[in-house]
């Protein structure tokens, strides 16, 4: 069996990539990315449009194969066994799209069955309580839901899947500020209970608030990494500055 080069100290990491290159229809999207997320850690990938954030996320699910480099979940190579990598991951897509013609419980039941697990009514209610979806809404079809409510159902689903890893794609876009706050608290509590969370976002403020580590992506390369020190969260100002310069605008420029 082929043994991938491993870096000492990265061995225990839940998610890691090493010199990851990904090419899509002739264009190199990721140009050698190396980073790792530890168990119980919240890692935010920050970047502008087209920086390669979602590509990185999707490559952990085996949707895209590396042209070179490695990508691992729980020290196992994703490309050689996509199915078992996916088993360990709950994925929250950007628009939190679920079936419109089903209600919250039916959606959750269906997707859990798809994942090969199941949950009883109480567990589902408990999860929906945890994301604080109003009880009276749970029997309504999703087509009547607001964006925030859909997001809650999707997170409840992710919680119920009880996987080690959560991948979140732009989880807060389109949510109102109080919903974002609520969401961040939930993420923190999940991480504290031992889940490994990788999220991609372009919300600098939110990332600083919730993440243990922030990776800054630009044009398919990781241009900077920021780590929270102890109880202190990452400094927003520093990250904002780096982010703005990475997407080519000056942080000092006044909005017109």
């Amino acid at each position: 069996m082929f043994v991938y080069p491993q870096h000492s100290g990265f061995n225990a990491m839940k998610l890691q990539t090493h010199s990851l290159h990904i090419t899509r229809s002739g264009k190199e999207i990721l140009k050698g990315i190396t980073f790792a997320v530890d168990t119980g850690e919240v890692y935010a990938l920050l970047g502008g449009n087209g920086a390669g954030k979602s590509t990185t996320l999707l490559s952990f699910l085996g949707f895209l194969s590396p042209s070179s480099g490695t990508i691992q979940v729980n020290n196992k190579d994703v490309t050689s066994d996509v199915a078992s990598a996916r088993k360990m991951i709950a994925y929250l897509p950007e628009s939190a799209s679920l079936y419109e013609h089903l209600n919250a419980r039916e959606n959750i039941e269906y997707f859990l069955q798809l994942a090969g697990t199941s949950a009883n009514k109480n567990d589902i209610d408990a999860a929906l309580d945890r994301v604080s979806l109003a009880a009276e809404a749970r029997l309504r079809k999703l087509r009547d839901y607001s964006k925030g409510m859909r997001q809650k159902v999707a997170i409840a689903l992710a919680i119920l899947r009880d996987t080690d890893v959560l991948l979140l794609d732009e989880p807060t876009s389109g949510l109102d500020p109080s919903a974002i706050d609520e969401f961040h608290q939930l993420i923190r509590s999940l991480a504290d209970s031992g889940k490994t969370i990788l999220m991609v976002t372009h919300d600098v403020y939110g990332a600083c608030q919730v993440a243990d580590k922030i990776g800054l992506l630009r044009n398919g390369t990781l241009v900077g990494e920021f780590t929270a020190q102890g109880e202190e969260s990452i400094d927003t100002e520093t990250v904002h500055k780096a982010f703005s310069s990475s997407i080519g605008t000056s942080s000092h420029a006044e909005p017109a």
């Binding site: 999707l58 699910l61 949707f63 996509v82 199915a83 078992s84 996916r86 088993k87 991951i89 994925y91 929250l92 897509p93 950007e94 628009s95 799209s97 679920l98 079936y99 419109e100 013609h101 089903l102 039916e106 269906y110 997707f111 069955q113 798809l114 994942a115 090969g116 899947r161 991948l167």
Partner: protein
């Protein structure tokens, strides 16, 4: 066990999809309609046969007075031949709207009678009936296409595709299961109605099972085609149009081109030539020396060659001899016409392997005895019956047996093929 759970999960999921339910109800309804009308038509045809048999008998009774000798008996007695619809004809009425399935014949030259066309309204035949075979072979693939083309594409537009794939892990079997549940439901709708209709008509179980098997294979075939084309990473409209193009090619264009090519490749003599030749022979006989006709007749019927011919006045023996010679002279042409049709049917059978809708329709028609071969078999049975009539009368003519009306009871009876 997990496959079973997955199956139950997808069945439950599909049952909640209103579009799928709508199409299933539609298929169930259309299938029932096609079969109900098929049953009614078969019943109508059976009633027609019975009615014609009665009317023909009445006509014979009325003409009974005219029968003065064996010759006039043969001349005035008409016989009804028919091809009764089979116990599966309700599902595939096939050629019965285009090809004659009843002839009223007498002992004159057969070639002049067998091409009579007692068929229904051509406007009706042109559009064609909505029978189970047509529905299953031509419409059902389109329903399958509608049900399956955007299996993946719709999930992509709805933004669920990645989530589904990520959640399910092993994705290829998942999509296949989704497709299979829809196709399976459709198959059940078809087969349930077919079996109920079969029970009403008292169809042989083996026939029903075989028909069920053809339909199953056919649906699997289209499901696989839809499944692979729908897996293409293209927008739904492109996939739909590609699938419809496949349908148009196999259901319309290929059959149409094949028909033209086969008809060109295997020429058949113009039917009118057969009739003209037969007519010439029969009419010329009046002017020919009688020995010429009789010798031609004795060539094929040496057992009567001792018969002594009366020279001038009209004689039934001579009259029927030139009728027979008329058939003999046209035999080559008539055989060529029939062989041409059979050969065309044979090639068409092979070509239809490339055109699945035609293949299924033809298979069901073959099972229902409503295909071209059955129609030619019926023609053969009429020829055989006509020959039996000649066998009955010839000894009476040529041995100068005294005329006895009571003996007409022994006339051969037409037995339909079954």
């Amino acid at each position: 066990m997990s496959t079973f759970n997955a199956l139950m999960r997808e069945i439950k999921f599909t049952a909640r999809d209103r579009t799928v339910v709508f199409w299933m109800v539609t298929v169930l309804g259309l299938s029932a309609i096609s079969l109900a009308f098929g049953l009614a038509e078969v019943k109508h045809q059976q009633a027609t046969i019975q009615q014609l048999l009665d009317a023909n008998q009445q006509e014979r009774d009325a003409e009974f007075e005219k029968l003065k000798d064996w010759g006039s008996a043969a001349y005035y007695t008409f016989h009804l031949t028919y091809d009764a619809p089979s116990d599966f004809a309700f599902a595939a009425l096939g050629q019965r709207d285009v090809q004659p399935w009843k002839h009223r014949i007498r002992m004159l030259a057969l070639e002049g009678q067998i091409y009579e066309r007692d068929v229904g309204n051509p406007s009706i035949a042109l559009i064609g009936r909505f029978d189970f075979a047509f529905f299953t072979a031509f419409i059902v693939p389109l329903v399958l296409i509608i049900l399956l083309y955007d299996l993946r594409a719709s999930e992509k537009t709805a933004g669920r595709y990645n989530l589904l794939e990520a959640t399910v892990g092993q994705s290829s079997s998942f999509w296949f299961l989704r497709a299979a549940v829809r196709s399976g439901a459709l198959f059940l709708c078809l087969i349930a109605t077919l079996f109920i209709a079969g029970m009403i008509a008292g169809t042989a179980v083996s026939k029903l099972l075989l028909a069920g098997l053809w339909v199953l294979i056919y649906i699997i075939f289209w499901t696989v085609i839809c499944f692979f084309i729908a897996a293409w990473r293209k927008p739904g409209s492109v996939i739909l149009m590609t699938l419809i193009t496949v349908w148009v090619s196999t259901a319309v264009i290929l059959p149409a081109l094949s028909r033209l090519a086969i008809d060109k490749l295997v020429p058949v003599p113009p039917g009118a030539d057969i009739l003209m030749m037969q007519r010439e022979t029969v009419n010329d006989a009046w002017d020919l020396p009688r020995e010429t006709t009789m010798n031609a007749f004795f060539e094929e019927h040496p057992q009567w060659s001792d018969y002594q011919q009366v020279e001038s006045s009209f004689e039934w023996q001579w009259y029927y001899a030139f009728q027979q010679v008329g058939d003999q002279k046209t035999r080559d042409l008539s055989t060529a016409y029939q062989n041409g049709r059979l050969q065309r049917a044979d090639i068409a059978a092979w070509v239809s392997l490339l055109a699945p809708p035609s293949l299924l329709e033809r298979s069901l028609q073959a099972l229902a005895n409503t295909d071209l071969n059955t129609s030619i078999d019926y023609e053969e049975s009429v020829r055989a019956y006509h020959a039996a009539l000649r066998e009955f009368y010839y000894p009476k003519f040529f041995l100068n047996q005294p005329f006895d009306k009571a003996l007409l009871k022994n006339l051969p009876k037409f037995e339909p093929n079954q």
